[in-house]
């Protein structure tokens, strides 16, 4: 079975992982011509011709009132990523297109300065000369010392692929909104604190001035005021005015509408924290209620000082840094979110799209997808489902139509009236929450909104108005995925997806060529390229990394302490700990790995698409740890968040940490990928809390696939072993060497059906004797073989419970399990398969298992197969119908039937489950004889 990526494999043989055995080279006439530029180390899909940076990155810039636009930081924070790319110039460009119309100060007709809760603006900008395209997210932060109290910032996702930016616009927008919201929340908090301080100062100053005036009054009994006294009185008056102004500002910042906070759903790690915040904020928004005011009050230790009534705006003073502007805590969270974004959109567009489609399709298999799919994906599926439930009113129409009716370009054209050189999308706000969804639909039509109207909206004081979530209306297709997930009752499931993708692609390109004059003018060649997937081949970022999967790897594995990992695997380790753990691993094995990183480096340089240089990150990691402790030590008013970092409280964090521990486990088995993954984890500062299921699980899949492939080739009895797993018979992998056992267990776990949306029933390593409960709980167990007499108990338990288990003895290379004579597993695990790569094999397994799931689904949900069609029908008739169905309709032979029956039982159990997680797992078994297989 040759699938597309394997054809690829023939073009560049030398770059792939070590192959288990060498196949004879293909005859000349059959081989695919090699990519002409191989010698230059170019990748056929790399389109980096113009770009000066090696891969996508995120840039945060500021329009400083002192020095103008300046770059602040990049994510990943590494010069190698952006290379010679001129960040200063690009900052200038992206800051010059801020449409945020942030208007603060004294509006005409208003006595006091007004704060506007300005929506962020989202702009796509291209610079083809630089080969850079960017999604730019502008936001405004408040700073008491800044001009007009505002500091404009922007976050930009910079990529060399404009299609990627255009097509992932909604996703980018959603993700960046989360980051922005996090920053802004922190900023509001900090700003309120600032105001409190200032008010205290003013109050103090007033008292002092007042006393002075009184003294003067008393001293002066002549009946006229000295100029000094008049001056003092004026000063006092201006302080009074200033107090009122600041009080007003404080009131405004506190009255930040709660709905806005609710609407912005932050990344999981922040959710809880910020909701709590929002709740408190909303309670404080009631000015009469002073109970909770202490949230915004500054530290009690603050001593007020005398200040000048006239605030001076001097240019020599140091402006606050971004971190000072927001709370450190929030700043760190934002960085985590940003690195999550960086992870999320890493890779080629085609790859991103495929995985999105993949996820969308998986979500539709609501009944069966728990069996073999990753729980990470599933968890965000749950979130999506909730979302889609809540947004039901707007979804009466088929999603595909809504997509066609509100294509991106229209919005863009309307924005084109800005006469700008870039495309941008403006934020429009609805006043009524209830109207939101209807308006959403209307959004494209309502683009007759002229600029003024939009600005009116923006200018509106948000206080008291029930505003809506920001980005939904504008984008029109924001809820695209959730819409799809709701639509499984509609017949066309896959059809709407792909046309839409192509269509929006075409459309976006057209927009660029028509409306963005500057982009067009600077890159004529771009515009001439036809609208096909010219740049969108699966560059398969993850595949490009090199393997060093050999016996040396095993040697390295031994250097890491096992129990730690085991615990991490269980998710019982806290996040920080597991992270520290991985760091330790890094340090431990660093010395041993000296030759490898360099080779990786060279190889990845040749790759050209993704280079993950391993070395320079360790320092960063340390820095992060320092940050972290600072954050925890800083006196936070919120006690609970002080005690536990917010992600600890969040259940979804467990998933993430599990994921990470999986990575680290998986890293064990492959030194090279381990190094690069360490680099990637440390580069994003908070590696685990923010991004569940990013690259790491991808890597895990690849490793698992690779090892499974190896197992299949190495052991002639792989089929019965896999059959055991598929049919729910616990497979015990017995061995002395923990690393080898663990490796095989994680490889074989891809064949283990789940009970539900939680961790797979797999125990990687155990050394105590097995009990009957273990077989009920675990379907794949790695068991330690001890040489000492103490092991007699362990082995006795094995022989006692031999009817429930299959035993794979890695040391003597034997397998004891029931006979398998089906046809399913040979197709699933063909030892002569042409598939060479782990990830390809993983996908193959997934597709086969999905097929199997659908069979199980059919079998489970056909009424007459299980229950009599009418009252007279006997049980025997039903049984024979069942057998016929399995054999003839599903094409199952012999033991394959048991696999489908087992899956059907799992489906039934899950379906009839009252509430998730309440049923006990059952142990089902058969009384069948076992055989001993030897190599």
């Amino acid at each position: 079975m040759i699938s597309a990526p394997d054809v690829v494999a023939f073009t560049k043989e030398d770059e792939y992982e070590e192959e288990p055995y060498n196949e004879p080279a293909l005859p000349e006439e059959y081989s695919v011509p090699l990519f002409p530029f191989t010698s230059q180390g170019a990748n056929p899909w790399s389109k980096l011709s113009g770009a000066k940076f090696s891969r996508d990155f995120i840039l945060i810039s500021e329009f400083s009132e002192q020095v103008g636009p300046q770059p602040l930081l990049t994510i990943p924070n590494d010069t190698k990523v952006f290379g010679t790319f001129d960040l200063n110039y690009f900052s200038l460009r992206i800051m010059s297109v801020d449409y945020q119309a942030s208007f603060v100060g004294h509006p005409p007709g208003s006595a006091y300065p007004k704060l506007n809760f300005v929506e962020d603006s989202k702009v796509v900008l291209g610079d083809s000369k630089e080969g850079a395209f960017a999604y730019v997210h502008h936001l405004t932060l408040y700073d008491l010392e800044a001009r007009g109290f505002v500091r404009p910032f922007c976050m930009a996702y910079i990529s060399s692929d404009q299609h990627k930016i255009m097509q992932q616009f909604q996703e980018l927008s959603a993700e960046f909104s989360k980051a922005s919201e996090c920053l802004k929340t922190g900023n509001r908090k900090a700003f309120a604190g600032e105001l409190e301080k200032k008010l205290k100062d003013l109050d103090y100053t007033r008292t002092v001035l007042h006393t002075e005036t009184e003294i003067q009054k008393k001293a002066n009994d002549k009946g006229f005021y000295s100029s000094q006294a008049i001056e003092k009185a004026n000063e006092l008056a201006s302080v009074e005015k200033s107090i009122i102004e600041h009080q007003d500002l404080l009131k405004q910042i506190r009255s930040y509408p709660r709905q806005k906070m609710k609407a912005s759903d932050l990344c999981p790690g922040e959710m809880e924290h910020n909701h709590e915040q929002a709740d408190q904020a909303s309670t404080t928004s009631n000015p009469d209620e002073l109970a909770d005011v202490d949230l915004y009050t500054c530290r009690p230790t603050y001593t007020p000082k005398l200040i000048k009534a006239k605030s001076t705006k001097c240019f020599d003073k140091k402006l606050k840094t971004l971190e000072e502007l927001c709370d450190t805590e929030y700043f760190t969270q934002t960085l985590a979110q940003l690195s999550h974004i960086e992870h999320m959109f890493r890779g080629d567009l085609c790859y991103l799209l495929t995985s999105q489609i993949d996820r969308a399709l998986l979500k539709q298999q609501r009944v069966t997808n728990f069996l073999f799919e990753d729980f990470v994906e599933v968890s965000d599926k749950m979130a999506d489902r909730q979302e889609s439930v809540s947004s039901q009113p707007g979804q009466d129409r088929p999603p595909s139509r809504s997509v066609e009716e509100c294509p991106i370009p229209k919005v863009l054209i309307s924005v084109g009236s800005y006469k700008s050189s870039v495309e941008s999308v403006l934020i429009k706000m609805e006043q009524e929450l209830g109207d939101e969804y209807n308006k959403e639909v209307e959004a494209p039509e309502s683009n007759s909104f002229d600029l003024q109207e939009n600005l009116d909206y923006l200018d509106m004081d948000m206080k008291g108005s029930i505003s809506s979530g920001e980005s939904i209306e504008v984008l029109g297709m924001e809820k695209f995925t959730s819409v799809l997930s709701k639509s499984d009752s509609q017949a066309s499931l896959t059809v709407p997806l792909s046309p839409q993708v192509v269509r929006s692609k075409a459309v976006s390109h057209r927009t660029i060529s028509e409306d963005s004059i500057e982009v067009l003018s600077t890159c004529p060649s771009e515009a001439l390229i036809p609208d096909d997937f010219k740049a969108s081949y699966p560059s398969a970022i993850n595949e490009e990394e090199t393997y060093a999967d050999n016996e040396e790897a095993i040697h390295f594995e031994a250097s890491v302490s096992a129990p730690e990992l085991d615990e991490a695997q269980e998710g019982s380790l806290e996040n920080t700990l597991s992270q520290v753990d991985s760091c330790c691993i890094g340090k431990e094995s660093e010395g041993q790995l000296v030759p490898l990183p360099t080779s990786v480096h060279i190889l990845s340089d040749e790759d050209g698409v993704v280079s993950i240089p391993p070395q320079p990150y360790r320092q960063k990691d340390q820095v992060f740890h320092v940050d972290f402790t600072v954050e925890n030590a800083s006196p936070s008013r919120d006690k609970s968040s002080d005690m536990f970092p917010s992600y600890e409280l969040d259940p979804s964090h467990l998933l993430a940490s599990r994921d990470v521990s999986k990575t680290s486990l998986d890293n064990y088995s492959d030194t090279t990928s381990y190094v690069s993954s360490l680099a990637s984890t440390s580069s994003d500062r908070i590696p685990s809390s923010a991004h569940p299921g990013g690259l790491s699980s991808e890597r895990h899949k690849k490793r698992a696939g690779q090892n499974a492939l190896k197992f299949i080739r190495q052991y002639p009895f792989a089929h019965p072993a896999i059959y055991s797993l598929l049919s729910g018979r616990t497979l015990v992998v017995l061995g002395e060497d923990e690393t080898i056992v663990r490796k095989l267990v994680s490889a074989l776990s891809i064949f283990v059906p789940n009970y539900g949306h939680y961790a797979k029933p797999v125990k990687h390593w155990i050394s105590s004797p097995l009990q009957i409960m273990d077989f009920q709980k675990w379907k794949l167990i790695g068991l330690q073989r001890v040489a000492s007499p103490a092991s007699v108990n362990t082995l006795h338990a094995l022989s006692r419970y031999s009817r429930y288990i299959s035993i794979l003895d890695l040391d003597s290379k034997t397998l004891r399990c029931p006979l398998y004579r089906g046809t399913l597993v040979p197709r699933l695990a063909d030892h002569r398969t042409q598939i060479k790569r782990g990830s390809t094999y993983y996908l193959h397994v997934q597709s086969m298992l999905t097929q199997l799931c659908s069979k199980a689904f059919l079998y489970t949900f056909c009424h007459h197969l299980h229950l009599p069609a009418h009252n007279e029908e006997t049980q025997e008739v039903v049984a024979s119908r069942q057998a016929n169905f399995l054999k003839l309709n599903l094409g199952l032979v012999n033991e394959d039937i048991k696999v489908v029956q087992y899956l059907a039982e799992l489906l039934k159990l899950r379906y009839i489950q009252e509430s998730p997680g309440t049923t006990h797992p059952l142990l089902r078994f058969d009384y069948v004889p076992s055989f001993l297989y030897k190599i």
């Binding site: 009957i772 007699v792 082995l795 419970y801 009424h863 229950l867 059952l922 009384y927 004889p929």
Partner: protein
């Protein structure tokens, strides 16, 4: 297999001859129990299981806990904690048919010298009373709506836990078994003796309860371990040295006395007899069960079927288990279930010999892993002897392996399968997998229908 796992060497054939234990092997096509559910609530040995109604049962153990379970789902319904020490007896107290009060009561006695009356619908502790000695057995005389407690003496109590009357101090070892017989009599086993008591209900002339000793039966030579009612005519007792006595239930005369009944072949060689006598433990009668025709006795490690009509053993399985058999029960379908200290539960079927029965032992290949339990050649001659003397045989149908320690008791539910409790603190619910699968399908389609997702083919 153990040997193989340790050394990887092949097991010498000779080893197998040491044990003549019947092994069923792994291929048990007739064993219906293909699904199990482990229930965990106890922290110590679970000794008692009591069926409460069609779907509920209670378990009690050395941790003093009484747990009420749903036999269908395996869900823990209630946990009754009140005893501070291990529970020594448990008996359900069904409501009086005449009374309107419909509370579901259960009595538990414990080594902390208390008896507690529970309402197992609500988990409420209804009554509690203290004793001078540990109550070792409880019996309910439903007809009189009273219950008896057997410890060092015998007490008679009513539903409200008032002591109606009691006997004088009987023995320090206490009453080990108590059985109700007609005419308001009870038989109590006290050491080697059987004592018959009669409960005198209050009459108009004598308005108070009384209990009087009627007779003492001294026929047993050793401690009486088991005592059950066979039918309206007989009850049966078994002692530590393997005496089996069938008594007339009305006049308490000995109907049959068997001492060496576990040895049905008359022409048994002396060597074997000596061997049997050496191990007294092997011949103690641990438990009885019976049906209309037969008494099934658990003698040492073996099982014996004694026919009441023929007054002889009609079938036996001398080495049914590796260790003492603790509890046996007869199922309606001619099947017999036994559980043993070796942690296994076996299902047997009583079959008549028509011709030479097919060898039930699986072929050698399957038994490569069988821990050397079977050797065809060795067991053949002994079988021949049995065949000569016994008209029936107990064929192993299946065995249930799950507990890691001795299986103390089990309970059979017609609809929900088998419940076993063990010294490993676990209770295992064994179910008929096929039947359960069907039930789940039924449930699934019911739920589909409720949700309105069920589409019928046109």
């Amino acid at each position: 297999m153990l040997r193989w796992l340790i050394g990887g060497g092949r097991e010498p054939q000779g080893l197998a001859e040491k044990s003549a234990l019947q092994s069923i092997g792994e291929d048990q096509t007739q064993n219906p129990y293909t699904e199990l559910l482990v229930l965990k609530a106890h922290h110590d040995i679970v000794r008692f299981l009591v069926q409460l109604d069609d779907f509920r049962f209670a378990s009690a153990g050395d941790d003093g806990l009484v747990v009420v379970w749903n036999a269908q789902t395996g869900a823990k319904l209630l946990e009754l904690s009140g005893h501070t020490q291990k529970i020594t007896a448990i008996v359900p107290f069904p409501p009086m048919e005449s009374s309107k009060e419909n509370s579901q009561l259960i009595l538990t006695a414990s080594a902390d010298r208390t008896v507690i009356v529970w309402d197992y619908d609500t988990g409420r502790q209804v009554q509690r009373s203290c004793f001078q000695s540990t109550v070792k057995c409880l019996t309910v005389l439903q007809r009189l709506d009273i219950w008896l407690s057997g410890g060092n003496d015998l007490g008679v109590w009513n539903r409200k836990l008032d002591l109606l009357c009691k006997t004088s101090h009987l023995s320090d070892t206490g009453i080990s078994a108590l059985v109700e017989t007609p005419r308001n009599c009870v038989v109590a086993a006290v050491g080697k003796e059987l004592i018959i008591f009669r409960v005198v209900a209050p009459t108009e002339t004598l308005p108070r309860w009384d209990i009087v000793e009627v007779k003492r039966l001294l026929d047993h030579q050793d401690n009486i371990l088991s005592l059950i009612n066979v039918n309206d005519l007989n009850f049966v007792t078994g002692s530590h040295v393997g005496e089996l006595i069938i008594w007339d239930i009305l006049d308490w005369s000995v109907q049959a006395y068997e001492l060496n009944f576990w040895n049905p072949s008359a022409q048994l060689d002396a060597q074997q007899e000596i061997k049997l006598c050496q191990k007294l433990n092997d011949i103690s009668i641990n438990h009885f069960t019976c049906d209309e025709e037969n008494i099934f006795a658990a003698v040492g490690r073996g099982l014996y079927v004694y026919n009441l009509q023929m007054k002889r053993v009609i079938a036996c399985q001398k080495m049914a288990h590796d260790s003492n058999v603790l509890h046996i029960a007869k199922l309606p379908n001619r099947q017999l279930i036994s559980c043993s200290e070796d942690g296994s539960v076996c299902i047997w079927e009583l079959r008549e010999k028509r011709q030479l029965p097919a060898e039930p032992v699986p072929t050698g290949f399957f038994n490569m892993w069988g821990f050397g339990r079977v050797n065809k050649q060795a067991s053949q001659p002994m079988k021949k002897q049995q065949e000569d003397t016994t008209p029936c045989f107990l064929e192993p149908v299946g065995d249930l392996i799950g507990h890691s320690s001795s299986v103390e008791m089990f309970l059979y539910f017609e609809d929900h399968g088998l419940v076993t409790c063990s010294a490993d603190h676990l209770i295992i619910l064994w179910k008929n997998g096929e039947q359960e699968s069907g039930l789940r399908s039924l449930k699934l389609f019911q739920k589909l229908e409720e949700n309105g997702d069920l589409y019928r083919a046109v």
